[in-house]
Symmetry: none
Amino acid sequence: MTQRSQPLYQEIADELLDEIRSGKLPVGTMMPTEMELCERFGVSRHTIREAIRQLGELGLLTRQAGLGTIVKATEARGTYPQSNESLDALLRYPPETALEVRSSEPVTATLELAKTLGSKVGTEWIKISGVRSVQGQDKPICWTDVYVIPEYARVAEEIGKEPVPVYRVVESLFGEQVTEVKLDLFADGVPESMAEAVQVAAGTPALVVVRRYTGHKKRVFEVSVSVHPQDRFTYSAELRRD
Amino acid sequence: MTQRSQPLYQEIADELLDEIRSGKLPVGTMMPTEMELCERFGVSRHTIREAIRQLGELGLLTRQAGLGTIVKATEARGTYPQSNESLDALLRYPPETALEVRSSEPVTATLELAKTLGSKVGTEWIKISGVRSVQGQDKPICWTDVYVIPEYARVAEEIGKEPVPVYRVVESLFGEQVTEVKLDLFADGVPESMAEAVQVAAGTPALVVVRRYTGHKKRVFEVSVSVHPQDRFTYSAELRRD
DNA sequence: GTATAGCCAATGTCCGGACGTATTTCTCGG
DNA sequence: CCGAGAAATACGTCCGGACATTGGCTATAC
């Protein structure tokens, strides 16, 4: 029976993939049912299920008992995963750096700040600001503004005691686990307000890294904005094909 | 039968996972055979295979016909995958942009260039330079220097004809498939040599994105260095816990 | 008009069986 | 003792069957 170079289920998966890619089975539409595919290919339900499973694992289909199988995408999902690393490493959080808190205060989100925070105008936050340094080095690697929800105001007292990221302090004090992080990197000039603290001239090119942390309560509970003057920090990533 | 909160195969997978984690089934050793597990748990081979498959998909086991099932790891791999996206999207390659080639020439890697390229001093490259623009917009979003190995010099003639990334042109002309990309992002000032082309003042803050492409021949075949003046490009990523 | 219950369709779980392919071990012959 | 072939072991593919769970639609009752 299996005298082919590929198993039957793989051949069927490939054929269905071609149909998805060609638009014959468009994104958003229902696939034929398992029974219809059994008839069409003249194979058992088991083989069809395995073929569908292959496509599902590629992220092309989603299946719902009672409803059916829906085409979700035309291309295999991230076949180029990030390397296997912890969240800290994935975020390229500067390792072994302590945040030296310079100020801590409640703020209300203006239009511009709301855009940065990804929150609504008028929302309340605790803003904790300071410089982050690598131990043993003269110049700070960045200025950081950390915004946390008022419920977690107490982290301000704990930050800086250990060289750990703020989200880990939140995690340990309040049990809020990170489920998602959104990351933005862009170029800007170092604002005058923080130039002296990081020991550069105002306007010096800087890499700005914004990290928005969402927890299991489905809300953004922390946003950090780090301003790295040029030559102090490089964000690096490695993407590998399986 | 299925009056439990979890399917049988999931319960068995969980139990086996506990044994792997506790060291009762150490990394590097053989798991019990399918038949042994059928007897032990009093279930069908199908159910055992599904349980094993779950652990296999987590990267904890590898299976070999004729040999058996080997414990490979004690922890599920990378629980913080990058979001499900194609390579283009993962690289945050500016979409629908065409590279307008301004120059193309052979270069020899100086010490500084070798550092950027991740290659040795003295190696030969073809340097293809130009601006990248979004169709319909006035200002280019970046200046790009693309370095390819001399073997792929011919891409210079093809670049810019379609709004596709250079590595895709290489792929289609020469069949070299990307297996790995290393990505660096840092801040710099726009050099005087490219300031006019991107319509900013020299020294303007810029996000510099270096992408190094390795192919299946295990060598870096392309390096691109894009200089994005401030306010023209943001690199964004989303990391989610499963 | 709305809510609820029932029915049907579609996927999910689990059983059993048979044969194919890969790997290792054992046996027999030179 | 060594090599070749056969047998045993273990996973991979594929078939068939049955029942459970999920989701949507339709009909009926209030």
